[in-house]
Symmetry: C3
Subunit: 241 residues, 3 copies
């Protein structure tokens, strides 16, 4: 659909492996990716359990990028990473397919909008400004007397357990740190997987700048069998708490 409108577009697949209806997983994937995209990239995101309902379709200009898709929080985290943003609702039928499926707006509404943006159509042409984008409900970690408490928010294909604890918050705690998850204590925060003994649980800051629990050469999910939402507690050992 995109190449039919903008034949010179360069298409790159970010992921086709987001679990069905999992807006949070999609939001975290986009957050991890957008800092590395070239200026003027247009991102189409289709994790869209509300397709066909009254939920809005939007295009967001954030930093030097555009984000196109459903207004369901999918772009909340990416948009925060990119900086100041403004959004419009996709209402101008000129930039949609004539017949719009009630079950696949990715094809009939988002892809055409992205393609028209790529050809140079101005954001304001697509529809009215939106200043109340739906925000993703991602729980924030909380400070505790001795450290930070968060949760597992994503399990990646390597079985790494990615938390909502960001690298900046973590850096504020006095070393050494220990991490508790699923009844197990990890006695240090490593720099990389290979710093831990083989097949041993470790904790580290992953490539998306969040604390994750991993196994060097294996799968932390396979070892701990914990799911999304599992509490993760980081404690500054020096705190004595």
């Amino acid at each position: 659909v995109i190449l039919g409108i903008c034949p010179d577009a360069t298409l790159v697949d970010i992921s086709h492996a987001i679990p069905p209806q999992d807006v949070l997983a999609g939001a975290l994937e986009l957050e991890a990716v957008v800092p590395y995209l070239p200026p003027h990239t247009i991102v189409v995101g289709v994790v869209d359990p509300g397709v066909g309902s009254a939920r809005r379709a939007v295009a967001i200009e954030a930093g030097a990028l555009h984000l196109v898709g459903p207004d369901n929080g999918l772009f909340t985290l990416a948009s925060r990473r990119l900086g100041p943003a403004r959004a419009v609702e996709l209402t101008n039928r000129r930039y949609m397919r004539e017949a719009i499926s009630h079950t696949f707006e990715g094809r009939d509404r988002f892809a055409p909008a992205a393609a028209w943006l790529a050809t140079g159509v101005a954001l304001d042409e697509f529809g009215p400004a939106v200043d109340d984008l739906v925000a993703l409900d991602l729980p924030l970690p909380t400070r505790t007397p001795a450290g930070i408490e968060g949760i597992v928010v994503r399990i990646d294909r390597f079985g790494n357990l990615i938390t909502n604890i960001d690298a900046i918050s973590l850096a504020r705690l006095a070393d050494p740190l220990c991490v508790d998850i699923g009844g197990t204590r990890i006695h240090t925060v490593s720099r990389t997987y290979a710093d831990a003994a083989a097949n041993t649980l470790c904790a580290l800051v992953g490539s998306s700048e969040r604390l994750e629990v991993a196994v060097n050469g294996g799968s932390a999910f396979g070892v701990l069998r914990v799911g999304r939402g599992t509490p993760v507690r980081v404690r500054s050992v020096a705190s004595g708490a």
Copy 2:
């Protein structure tokens, strides 16, 4: 292989997730996709359980597209959507790789043919005309006194159960409709997933213009655990039958 012959080709992956040897699933995927491809697109399809046997390799010109792959019914549905078609067998060795694997003609025969088509070689150069293409054996739905009876033909990655009942046949029935599948009755045909209560079975016309059974926010396959071939009966409630 394609870029080695036609460096300017734009490659787009349609799917690498068709189950092994599942010609029907591939045919349905292509049927769903081809109406949206730009003119002059060349589609390579490789679901090819008969690779290396006497089954023919073909190139089909249908509407403004070309379809290249095995002559096993993979293109039957796509070709019907696209309109008048003519086909040739790929016999001209000039447009194949010199050594042809008996287990991977996608690489050695189909991809080169597609690339040479892209460079402008005329269809008739590839080999003799074929007027007896193998047709996919897709069961058609049957009219019943009260409605239509079909079967599940595909289960997608969302767990939606896609049937062989097309939107046009469905539109001929007098509303309201009900749908029976796997011992369960669905009391209406919805416009979209979100029109049904959350986590509830619903029936609707999906993006490939076929009736499908779905669960809003979940998986119909997960709920019903029925397989391909399961009967699906649509009944016009007003018929009294």
Copy 3:
């Protein structure tokens, strides 16, 4: 990341389905693919269990291609197929991202190096020559009085069991041949899947020029349930041994 440095690059995904940390599977995939890539292709390979450790990052010039990734044996087989090779370590920080993740050098070190190579930067600019590349530890098949003995080295998505027995070694044995695996004897080596009876075990030389055990229309893994490392014995029936 690549398009940010080299906007004209043509990106093609080879595979995103290599099992986590499985360097051997990645090496076999690359071996199978590289003979078919156009000259001047730059291959980025990221199967990298030692990411963040002292393992080197390298760029290899082999035949008309470049291979970029970790120095862990991932490129051993591909490089052998391509012919004479020379390598450098990626140490020049000018051709990396400024901040390098300890868990994802694919993004911060390999992709930038590949992109800079694509823009024409000479291999020697990236760092010092390496003449002791880590070699993959792939067991070689052994000659026996009656034939060859090897092992299963890979199970593909079709359930084909791919061995370390190469086509050239196999061609040296006097026909007819039989193949023993997992307590089952296969009484011939076929030319293609379709030469065997439907749903029957067969042995043949697959598209990567190695002996594989397959099931026509099914999965050899599903039938035999054997894993990587399983012995495979090919015997020349005429040998009488």
